[in-house]
C-alpha cells in the first residue's frame, strides 16, 4: 500500500482505472479467480471498468454472464464450493434485488451451514450512487440492505487506492463481500486533498482529515463533498473526517476515538436515512460514547422518499452547502 497524497493536480489513476488494474493483477496471480457479470467481457462493462480483461485473460475467466442476477450469484456460490474465487459484477445498484435471495440466504450462510468446510471468498462489485442524471433505478445506494446480514461484509471505498485494498482483502476473506463503487467517481480526476495517514488495517476506517471541533463519519462518494465542506469551513471550524471505507462490520473504534477528541458527531451518507448506516453509527455512539458527547448526534442523508427523476436529484442529494450548514448549526 502506497500513501501518495491525492491532490487535484497530481495525475493519479481514476477509480475505474485502479479497479481495472487491481482486477488484472488478481487475475494474473490467482489462477482460481474469475470475473462474472453482464457485459463485462466483450464490452468491458457498461462503465468500461473491466475493459481489456477478457482479451487478456480469456472468456473463461472474464465471463459475460447470462442476464439474470440470481444466476450470477447463485452460480458463483457453486463455484466457490468448487474452490474458485468469483468476483461478480451487478450492472447497477438498482438491479441487485433479484440476487438478494442467493446473497442473503445462501452466500452469507454457506460457511456456517457447511460447519466451516467451505469458505466462500466471493465478491460482488456493485456500481452505486447518483449525481450523474441517471434514469430510474440507476442512481441508488443500497449498502445498508446487506450491512444487516451476518456473514456478509460491505465495503464502500471512496478512492481507487482504497478500492484496491478492499478488493485484495475481500478475495482472501473466506466469506462474501459486497463492494459498492461510486459511479460518479469512476472517471473523476479532481478530488479534494486528503491526509495521507494510512489505515490501521485493511478493514479499518481512515481519518482523512484531522480536526478538533467535530467529527464527520462518512463513506463512499460523498466523502469528497464532506472533505470539500471541511476545507471550506477551516479555519473557523476544524472538522475531523472519518472515511469508514467498510460499513459492515464498522470500525467503531476509530469513530469513538475521534468523538472522544471532538465531542461532536455528524454522520453523512448518500443512501437514504432511515434504518441506514448512519443509524447504526449513531446508536453505537449514543451507547458507548455517550459521556464524550457535547451535543446531539446528527445525521445528514436523504429523507425517506423515492430517488426522484434526474431533474430533481439535486434537491434529493446532500451537497457541500448542506454539510457546511449542518456543521455550523452543530458548532455554533
Amino acid at each position: 500500500m502506497t500513501s501518495t497524497v491525492e491532490t487535484s493536480t497530481v495525475r493519479t489513476p481514476t477509480f475505474a482505472e485502479s479497479i481495472n488494474a487491481t482486477l488484472a493483477d488478481l487475475l494474473e496471480h490467482e489462477p482460481g479467480l474469475l470475473l462474472l457479470g453482464e457485459d463485462i467481457g466483450r464490452l468491458g462493462g457498461v462503465f468500461r471498468v473491466t475493459r481489456g480483461l477478457r482479451e487478456r485473460f480469456g472468456a473463461e475467466r472474464v465471463r459475460d454472464a447470462l442476464l439474470a442476477e440470481s444466476t450470477i450469484v447463485g452460480q458463483a456460490v457453486g463455484m466457490t464450493m468448487s474452490g474458485l474465487v468469483p468476483i461478480c459484477e451487478i450492472q447497477f445498484d438498482g438491479f441487485t434485488y433479484p440476487a438478494v435471495n442467493q446473497l442473503v440466504t445462501q452466500a452469507s450462510r454457506i460457511g456456517y451451514r457447511w460447519n466451516g468446510q467451505v469458505s466462500p471468498s466471493l465478491v460482488v462489485r456493485i456500481p452505486t450512487g447518483g449525481g450523474f442524471r441517471g434514469v430510474e433505478h440507476h442512481s441508488e445506494s443500497n449498502e445498508a440492505l446487506f450491512a444487516r446480514y451476518p456473514g456478509i461484509s460491505v465495503a464502500c471505498p471512496s478512492t481507487g487506492e482504497d478500492a484496491d485494498q478492499v478488493l485484495r482483502h475481500a478475495v482472501t476473506l473466506g466469506s462474501p463481500v459486497v463492494v459498492y463503487e461510486p459511479i460518479r467517481l469512476y472517471w473523476r480526476r479532481d478530488t479534494p486533498v486528503r491526509d495521507p495517514e494510512p489505515a490501521r488495517s485493511p478493514t479499518a476506517a481512515r481519518i482523512v482529515r484531522r480536526g478538533t471541533d467535530l467529527t464527520i463519519a462518512t463513506f463512499g462518494a460523498i466523502t469528497h463533498e464532506v472533505l470539500e465542506a471541511a476545507h471550506d469551513l477551516a479555519p473557523d471550524v476544524d472538522v475531523e473526517v472519518v472515511d469508514l471505507r467498510w460499513v459492515a462490520p464498522l470500525d467503531m473504534d476509530t469513530v469513538l476515538e475521534s468523538v472522544t477528541r471532538t465531542g461532536r458527531l455528524l454522520i453523512v451518507h448518500e443512501g437514504s436515512k432511515d434504518v441506514g448506516i448512519g443509524a447504526e453509527i449513531a446508536a453505537e455512539v449514543a451507547e458507548r460514547g455517550f459521556d464524550t458527547l457535547r451535543g446531539p448526534i446528527r445525521r445528514l442523508a436523504p429523507e425517506r422518499r423515492v430517488y426522484p427523476p434526474a431533474n430533481f436529484e439535486s434537491e434529493y442529494l446532500i451537497g457541500v452547502q448542506e454539510i457546511k450548514d449542518e456543521v455550523l448549526v452543530m458548532t455554533k
Binding site: D39, R42, D64, F95, P309
Partner: protein
Amino acid sequence: MVLKSESEYEYATELHDDTRRSLLRHMLVARGLDEEAHRLQKQGGLILWASGQGHEAAQVGSALAVGPEATVFPTYREHAIALLRGVAPDELLAQWAGRTFCGWDPYRLRFFPYTLVLAAQTLHGVGYSIGQRLQGREDFVVVYVGDGATSEGDMSEALNLAAVESASVLFVCQNNGWAISKPAEEQMRTSVAERARGFGIESVRISGRDPETVFSACSRAAAHIRGERAPYLVEIQVGRIRGHTTTDSQEVYRTRDDIARSVAADPVTSYAARLSGLGVVDTAWLDGVEAEVREMRERLMKEYA
C-alpha cells in the same frame, strides 16, 4: 448457433391498403421521433435514449393487430407503440429528459409505464389480466419483453403463471439478437418460442422485417387468445440498428458486417419502398407523412433542445 425463422416471410394478402398505409405511417413517425431523440440526446436535451430503430415493424405490426382494447405492458423500447397508442411525442421523451418516470396517462391509453427492471413487468401483466378477468372486465394483455430479459427468473415465472391460469396474455418478445453486448445465441440454447411451449404456451417465431407478417401472426395469436382464453407467445426477430442506448458503442463488440446487415435489413425503408412499388402510397402521401414528422420534430426541438 444461428437464429433461424420458423416461418419464412409471408406477405398476408388480405390486408387492406388502409391498414398497410397505417402500418407504414406509424413506422415512419416512430423513426422520425427516434432520429430526433438521438439529436436531442447529443445536444444534452435528453439524458439517454434507447433506440427503437429496426424494431418498428415488430412494434407497429403487433400493436395494430391486437387493437386498442388490449392493455400493453412495455419494456422501455416500445416507442412506436407508445406513439400509436396516443402518447404525445413530448410525453414520450419526458422520462428520457429526467422530468418524470412516466410522461403519459397509462390507464387512458392502456399503455402502461416503461419498466426498467428487466422482466418485472411480465408478472404484472399476467396479474393484471387475472385481475381484470376476476372483475369480469376485458382481460386481454400484451406483455413486451426483450431476448436478454427472458433469462430473468421473473419471465419464466410469468410464463408458468400465464399457462397455469390460462390468462389472456400475448407475450411479444422482440429478439434483436443482443442484450447490450451479449448475443442472443449465448443467452439461450433454443428460442424464446420453444421455451414458451415448454411451459404449455403456444408460440410462433417470425421475422420482424415485414410489418404485415407481424400483423398477420399477431392477429392469429390474438384470435387464439380470445378464442381459447389462453396465452400465446410471438417471438419476433428484429435487427438492432443503433447501439443498445446512446451510451453504448456497439462497434466495440459487433462486427462492422453485422451492423451493416441490420442497417440493410431496415424494416422502415424496405416497407416504404415496397408500398411505393405497389402503388399503395405515392409521393404526395409520403410527403404528407414527412411534413407531419418534420412538424413533430420541430415541436420536440423547441421543448427539449
